[in-house]
Symmetry: C2
Subunit: 233 residues, 2 copies
Amino acid sequence: MTTTALKARKEFGKTLASDIAHRLRNEIVTCQLKPNESLKFDALRLSFGASFTTLREALTLLVAEGLVVAEEQRGYKVAPVTLEDLHDLTHARILIEVDLIRRSIERGDDDWEIRVISCLHRLAKIEERAPEDYAGNAEWKSAHRQFHEALVLASGSPTLLAVRNSLFDRAERYRNLSALYRPRPRDKAGEHRALMQAAIGRNADQACALIASHIQTTSDNVAKYASGVINAG
Amino acid sequence: MTTTALKARKEFGKTLASDIAHRLRNEIVTCQLKPNESLKFDALRLSFGASFTTLREALTLLVAEGLVVAEEQRGYKVAPVTLEDLHDLTHARILIEVDLIRRSIERGDDDWEIRVISCLHRLAKIEERAPEDYAGNAEWKSAHRQFHEALVLASGSPTLLAVRNSLFDRAERYRNLSALYRPRPRDKAGEHRALMQAAIGRNADQACALIASHIQTTSDNVAKYASGVINAG
DNA sequence: ATGAGCAATATTTTCGAAAATAGGCAAAAA
DNA sequence: TTTTTGCCTATTTTCGAAAATATTGCTCAT
């Protein structure tokens, strides 16, 4: 095989380190880099074409996001997946997302409503176009992420939003993991539409209940379908 | 003046980078490094005696904790302090700390109770010894931090605990800032004792109410005494 | 005066070599 | 056989030089 990717290239971020963090994050979330896999510098240098220190900076970023764990003097590895971690993550996500969506509904203006509606529309379009398997579809994943982000974007809490985004990534890794072992994706279209309606109808209590249930159900399904590959808590 | 600190030394962490992050964090939280102050590599290299890349790794860590902000290609600076940020931070802290303390009370065992009690005892001892000005006292700060940490330690939520710790640091910076401008520290001893009693009495509702009010009142006082040095939100 | 263009300087970002550290293997001692 | 000790190798961690990028200050045309 040809030893590809000798030279680093910038795609996303402005600096090479943030760019590599972006690419690494993607590979971890999509499970191309498997849980527990050890991240050796020599190997990373080969596949990303960057030097020790640049890689080290990128890894440091991902440690803070909980996608990579560092054992000092003993290198880095992809964060493990466990049932315990999934439960912990789910609890944290519900707590934060419920708070954010409630405040978003209180504070959201017309632009916010428009954004929520158009994000849902885009999501629906993609699902129509590929009704069978949108779960593995990168475009659907992006639209899905953006819809959920739109819902909470008017909350006015940068701190919690940042935490939320990092938890979303961690959760997406579990979703991808379970998708590998599930016969067909759960149909979330109805849930998304109901969420949108509760949000723009300014029905905060209902929106909070819906999002909590949405996150919990997804998590339960992950636990059900992926329990074989997840280390017991 | 003698140009001190040419050679780096390890005090806390196992690696130099984590050690420097530790020291930098401390300098930022205690406002020896002032909000908005730009963190130039040459200057840092001089005072910490480490190389570019090691410093860069330490700064990356602090960016994730919200104590440093990075503008790509334009360096790092100490995170600004604003009223808006203080409100955001306070909201996030109350949301998370209330959840953690409730679950800690549900799950805490005998060791947890003992730990809470002994942490409070240590705190009280220090306050007795220096009744006038324990606010600037590093030992008191450490005991204070440990008491509050003990309360939530049985929650069993590593994710939220990690976020909590990072928010605690950010809040401590604001507390230190206001202490500079306040005639005498507010007496929190009674509040701490009440918290302990509610916790080991397994009165979750009361403990949650107390911690929320404790955080909110502290924040209000910071806003009151430090508003002069805090940029308007 | 004013602003655009350009050179000079300051600063950040990236690199690969060198130092430090951990883990394993083999030989010697118990 | 089992344990200990001391190399040797694999790997991480740190360094300072070099490249890339931003900023400042100057010149010149308008």
